[in-house]
Symmetry: C2
Subunit: 253 residues, 2 copies
DNA sequence: CGGATGATTCGGTGCTCACCGAAATGTGAT
DNA sequence: ATCACATTTCGGTGAGCACCGAATCATCCG
């Protein structure tokens, strides 16, 4: 047990909030991170095109994000693949996005408008389901007593039974690093959707059973006919949550 | 139901992550927010002195933070009081701080060293208890089966019974806006402490029963003799969690 | 009514940083 | 070997912004 010595060179450690925030304070870097919320690995070139900046600029941004611990990289041949560093990074991004102000952006083409509508309807959020579909799932589960009331992140006994009945693996015993069940603010609908280990397990289940399919290179999810049947039978989801054409623009703030 | 029209001026909304992050990307503004994590209202002058910048500079920072929605202000006479806008803002800050890298800062005086040690030992985090004491509470509650295992934010039946036995108000039925029980990363100890509505209720209880007292103008909590007795009897907390002099520097990352 | 105090406005300064293009590096394919 | 392709390095440029001091405004106090 050492005592404090006034003459000794002495330092303490504080979390450098500003350093982390500075990583996201740039439009281009923020856009890169939002794109990576699909959970996949992108190459530097893909991100350069997506963000509409020169490849050299992208390199600099990726260097910052990787050394800041937000992104993980993997070099394969002449390619540089980057992805989000982990679930904590993803959830922090989502929560931040839910709290952030909205910005109006012009929609330039019909294709882009359709893309946006599909995103609002159903998409992946790192490793779970977001968008109107994700929000509807949480609300249906709450109504049916599968989740603790409202946004309280509690999986009830009935909820656990429902999951095992579906054949969803138990999400293990709650792991050391990941909260069992969690919700995060959905940035399109401004309501909560299911994340955490249970959210991830449910998404995996839906994929494996063909309830939804994921388009390559985007985060868009499409609900299949089988999926509609399953979501109606299991959770009584309304049509608004099952058909992209019925998804509306988010309510004004 | 309107159809999309290609010629119509058309906009969509995206969360402006960069705008929110830019608010925190500055050292001074980040320091201000961290200071306000004590949950209290500070005047502009106090923050100027705390952050070691000119009053005029502080004004500019506060304008940005308030109009960005992170801070709420209240003008009383010639004073400008600011506080965090709400629990969501506070929890976002805490989570961000937990994910942020550490920065070494020099400790210039014995007083500052003592201050730091006290902060590490026990402090308020907006409206609940953080520091070694807060972490010890979570761990003791987990060991005793009052909280769902590990960091899973589940309050067990035994936990609910324990709280009512203490006379802690039920934290209401889980409110619409606030998660019932939640944990957030403690930036001194890098482990989780209890937040959410239950964490807040527990802190209020401890204050009202004189288990802890809060020093004015800081976030430091001092455990009283009565508090030591109570924490030992109720949770079996070890002395390390009850005496500031035994609080050690955080382990190296 | 002064005089003190807290906060704000404004002009000006220096630094940081996002960006690009051109050239260079390294890897894969022919 | 040679060409194509993905990425990186580097120098330079321009814009944004954190900061201060001096002056001003508003409020409280004697």
């Amino acid at each position: 047990m050492k005592r404090w010595d006034a003459d000794q060179e002495s330092v303490a450690e504080t979390p450098d909030l500003a350093a982390l925030a500075a990583l996201l304070a740039d439009r281009t870097r923020a856009a890169i991170c939002m794109a990576l919320l699909d959970g996949g690995a992108w190459t530097a070139g893909e991100l350069a095109e997506y963000a509409a900046v020169a490849p050299s600029t992208t390199t600099e941004h990726l260097n910052l994000l990787v050394s800041g611990g937000l992104l993980a990289e993997e070099r394969r041949g002449r390619r540089r693949y980057v992805r989000l560093a982990g679930p904590e990074a993803a959830e922090t991004l989502e929560n931040l996005a839910g709290l952030a102000p909205y910005r109006r952006v012009p929609v330039r083409s019909l294709a882009e408008a359709n893309h946006r509508r599909a995103l609002h309807h159903a998409r992946t959020c790192y490793d779970h389901i977001a968008g109107a579909l994700g929000v509807a799932i949480v609300e249906a589960m709450s109504e049916r007593g599968l989740l603790g009331r409202d946004d309280g992140p509690v999986l009830t006994a009935a909820g656990a039974a429902w999951l095992t009945g579906l054949g969803v693996p138990d999400a293990g015993p709650p792991t050391a690093h990941r909260a069992h069940v969690r919700t995060c603010l959905d940035w399109t609908v401004r309501r909560r959707h299911l994340s955490g280990a249970v959210g991830a397990a449910l998404y995996r289940h839906a994929l494996e059973h063909g309830w939804v399919v994921k388009a390559v290179a985007t985060r868009i999810l499409t609900v299949t006919a089988a999926g509609r049947t399953a979501f109606r039978a299991q959770l009584g989801l309304p049509d608004e949550a099952l058909f992209p054409s019925l998804a509306l623009a988010p309510p004004r703030a």
